[in-house]
Amino acid sequence: PADTFHNLQELHHSASLATKVFIQRDYSDSTICKFQTKFPAELDSRIERSLFEETVKTLNCYYGEAEKIGGQSYLEGCLACATAYIIFLCMETRYEKILKKISMYIQEQNEKIYAPRGLLLTDPIERGMRVVSFANTWDVFLSVGTTLKELCTIYKL
């Protein structure tokens, strides 16, 4: 019936807002890992701009520290070269240690700031370091309900 479809359309429309927001990489500083701090419009009603910017800036700091070419990285590099790089198989590199710190930071941010606002921040390492994505958690359950309802209609359950 037409009104069923209409209701579904309305529900579906609000569910389709449950798309993810992607923060892309900022390549202006060459190939180092840095994310754009521009506040996306889709998050306008969900989170304060300052909190968002602080998260992205802290992530950028962590990545900058991981990729910094300085004393410790030279030491690691030269030592690795001298041992024919076997040391990479035995030891955790500085980069990996910082990635662990980043994971914990993201988890903490999710628990304290983003989950109460119905958002979920994904670790960029899971997306090939291309994007920081914000997923909308509240609307997911709405989408689930919508999809199940649509399926029931289609299959006349």
Binding site: Q9, T31, Y74, G77, C81, A84, T93, Y95
Partner: protein, 385 residues
């Protein structure tokens, strides 16, 4: 393999992929074996040791490279070293041994390390990028597809980022798609058939170590064999006698003579590339040499200091592998999903597909599979009777 029954996903199979090297294989107590991500990897790669090692599908001439090195070095240690130790010094096999170990280890690491492969975009990312591409261009009247390039300014230079149709991403700077491996590789240098793998950001230092140590090894063996034959042919014996006394040396001489020039040349070329922070790909294409007539072109990635360039390329931090090889695939039909999302893999991976099909009144093309990962339920619909 499809099970048309209601089933529960074992939460222990849903392991979050970690970037660190895998500590040990996870215990599998699912009724059906969970597949690891390397088994569903879309690129043309080969995996060994349950995903711990990666190589290109075409191993190229890696067996030949290994064979030649092992053969020549073996003959050297067996036939030339005893004579030289007796007549000269026992440092010779020691130096040879160290060089040989460096060559083999760096060769294996170049061949079996992930060169910096970028994982393909998830469906949501691809959709998001498509939206960004379609919106700015606006006019739908032209038949030409919208230009799939993005411009970025790096160090006051305009760099064009191209869109990769296979991986569905905008390639980061210095990234190129290798057609042999069917992957986008970061800081792509070249695909080396001799090592059977791409050379990129993560394994360039191994590759450089390999060719430098191989140059030294080849030159060293060449020198030692020449010395050996010279010493043998002294005292009025002649070269022919020396060759007859040690025929293996002749073979080594031939192999080394023909390879030392190309290897030395390659080493020199790559030393130049390292010093100027260029890749083979950029050098061949002439990206920064101003071939297009633009006078302002220069390498935006160079630090303009040979030492700093060398240090950043060879001694820089080792980036992690971005492809998760040993994590488990969450369910049979979905690929690389994140924890909280809904995916319709049978349809076009977009929840809008369901909406459109419903509103137009047409039945869905195939029974969709909905996988909810946080509540552990998998629902598979039967086909309509």
């Amino acid at each position: 393999m499809k099970n048309h029954e209601y089933q529960q996903i074992d939460p222990q199979a849903l392991v979050t992929p970690t970037p660190t090297p895998p500590p040990r294989p996870l215990p599998e107590h699912k009724p059906r074996r969970a597949r690891r991500r390397w088994e569903v990897f879309p690129g043309k790669n080969r995996f060994c040791c349950d995903g711990r090692m990666i190589a290109a599908r075409q191993s190229g001439v890696l067996p030949l490279t290994l064979g030649l090195i092992l053969l020549t070095s073996g003959l050297f240690f067996i036939f030339d070293c005893p004579f030289l130790v007796k007549h000269l010094t026992s440092c010779i096999p020691a130096i040879g041994g160290v060089l040989f170990v460096f060559v083999i280890i760096s060769l294996l690491q170049t061949s079996f390390t992930d060169p910096g492969i970028l994982p393909r975009a998830t469906p949501e990312e691809a959709a998001d990028i498509e939206k960004q591409i379609d919106n700015p261009t606006g006019s739908s009247s032209s038949y030409r597809p919208p230009p799939r390039t993005k411009e970025v300014v790096i160090n006051q230079q305009v760099v064009k980022l191209k869109y990769c149709f296979t991986c569905k991403i905008f390639r980061p700077p210095r990234t190129s798609h290798c057609s042999l491996c069917d992957n986008c590789v970061e800081r792509f240098d070249h695909h080396c058939p001799w090592v059977g793998n791409c050379v990129g950001k993560r394994n360039y230092r191994f590759f450089y170590t390999f060719i430098i140590s191989l140059s030294f090894l080849t030159a060293f063996i060449f020198g030692c064999v020449t010395t050996h034959l010279t010493l043998r042919s002294q005292g009025g014996n002649g070269l022919v006698f020396a060759l007859q006394a040690s025929p293996a040396s002749a073979l080594e001489l031939v192999v080394c003579f023909f390879s030392v020039w190309s290897i030395l040349g390659l080493s020199g070329f790559h030393t130049y590339l390292v010093a100027t922070n260029l890749t083979t790909n950029e050098d061949i294409k002439g990206s920064w040499s101003g071939k297009s007539g633009n006078e302002d072109v220069g390498n935006p990635y160079s630090y303009n200091s040979i030492i700093k360039n060398c240090c950043s390329v060879l001694c820089g931090p080792m980036p992690p592998s971005l492809i998760d090889r040993r994590g488990f695939v969450p369910s049979d039909d979905s690929v690389q999903t994140s924890p909280v999302e809904i995916e319709l893999p049978a349809a076009k991976n977009d929840i809008n597909m369901v909406g459109r099909a419903v509103t137009s009144g047409r039945p869905l093309p195939r029974p969709p599979v909905i996988t909810l990962q946080q509540p552990a339920i998998s629902i598979q619909s039967h086909s309509t009777a």
